[in-house]
């Protein structure tokens, strides 16, 4: 085992707080490029106006340091924790929740979490964050923050298909999910797809697939081809930006897959809106 790298909880709080604000105020370059390209490619004049509005909105949000969208989301945090890292001065999860609490307060971001899904009283500080942790070799910590909006999250679906349903069955389920969602998830959307694993792991993969920047293809040629085929089928639906009709319904489809049981073909679709807010920081090394 190598030397342990020390990272303070205090530093994690500060970094998370900045990620929350930065992701919410600034549309990332990959999304901006996709919006610009879509404005060019779009056939409908009404939808073209929507793209123009979204680009103007990105400019105002950046200049005024205002949230791109008022739904500043559930704080979803992905942590890749190096096995040779030691967190000092506090616990990792406390630091993450505290960072979210601080970022949402300082940034005047909306607090959208209720403590109990049935009693529905707001926690007042947007905690708890939803945290996914993965252990990796080495002495760094990679933290990715995602502000996940409720409107698009609500349009997500999962199915336990049979092996006989195969590739075509998976594509049909993805396209059907977007068709049912129609205008509701704030199209143009990004479609995150998780295939295989178990019921829960497919959903996790669907969310995780959204972390790959737009414009970057899948490293596996078959999966890359599957993504492109799904994107074409989704865009053929004609839903368009804001559902007003148009040729661009999705900015991209991302697929991640995992080995699964001989009896199973789980498929999960996590819908993401155009206000795709993801930001990463690496600590240590």
């Amino acid at each position: 085992m190598g030397t342990r790298t020390k990272i303070s909880a205090e530093e994690i709080v500060e970094k998370i707080s900045h990620l929350c604000m930065g992701a919410n105020f600034q549309v990332s370059d990959d999304v901006l490029d996709a919006l610009k390209n879509s404005r060019e490619a779009e056939a409908s004049s009404v939808a073209k106006e929507v793209f123009a509005d979204l680009l103007e909105n990105a400019k105002i949000a950046r200049e005024c340091q205002m949230p791109i969208c008022q739904d500043t989301g559930v704080a979803v945090v992905f942590v890749e924790l190096g096995e040779d890292v030691e967190i000092t001065g506090g616990r990792l999860y406390d630091a993450i929740h505290n960072g979210v609490r601080q970022g949402y307060k300082e940034g005047y971001l909306r607090k959208s979490m209720v403590a109990n899904p049935l009693k529905r009283v707001n926690t007042g500080d947007n905690t708890p964050a939803i945290i996914h942790t993965e252990l990796i070799p080495g002495n760094s910590v990679r933290i990715t923050f995602m502000a996940k909006g409720g409107g698009c999250e609500n349009m997500s679906r999962i199915a336990m298909l049979t092996p006989a349903d195969g590739r075509e069955g998976v594509i049909n389920f993805v396209v059907e999910t977007v068709r049912i969602a129609k205008a509701n998830p704030c199209p143009p959307i990004i479609v995150g797809v998780g295939i295989g694993g178990t019921f829960d792991y497919a959903a996790h993969l669907a969310k995780k697939s959204l972390l790959r920047p737009l414009g970057v293809g899948h490293s596996d040629p078959d999966t890359d081809c599957l993504e492109k085929e799904m994107l074409e089928r989704v865009n053929n639906l004609g839903i368009g930006a804001q559902g007003l009709g148009g040729s661009v319904t999705a900015l991209g489809v991302r697929v991640e897959w995992s080995p699964c049981h001989i009896a199973s073909l789980p498929v999960a679709v996590n819908i993401e809106c155009h206000a795709h807010r993801v930001k990463t920081v690496v600590l240590g090394i």
Binding site: S44, S45, I60, Q70, N122, G124, G151, N236, G238, G245
Partner: protein, 185 residues
Amino acid sequence: MSNIIHIKTPLMDDTTANLRIGNRVLISGIIYTARDAAHQRLVELAGQGKKLPFDVQNQIIYYVGPSPAQPGRPIGSCGPTTSYRMDVYTPQLLAMGLKATIGKGNRSDSVIEAMKQYKAVYFAATGGAAALLAKRVKRADVIAYQDLGTEAIMRLEVEDFPVVVANDIYGNDLFREGMVKYQNR
């Protein structure tokens, strides 16, 4: 493309009668915010025959839960939330004289039917263009349900607030028509 139509609140029947799906509209005047939790309370009050915190007659409700206002600004970012969650409450409010709602996404058949019956319209604002829309809000005051935080009912003074007519009083639906037009089977 259609010309831009300027309208002022309160909204009268002769105004809604002139609006057609696809029209781009700029709204000026007073509008009221309400989303999930506020709707639940409003409809509960109405069911008990009690007075609502504001008279919905000829008014517009905007489905929004703004982000907190930064110092020196009247409101934070304030784009529309998804409207279908309010579908169960909307026909009752339309029956009480509400003339328009603003949100994003599709409405149910029963809401579209009620809009026809009560001569009301549904406007779509651009979801996720929340900083741009905030610039059109000149003043914002909480008038009820402060305890609901972002879900409280606010009275907004807006100037040239940009929307598109998604459903008119004639039963037309821009979402349905738009999608059919660009479908590629």
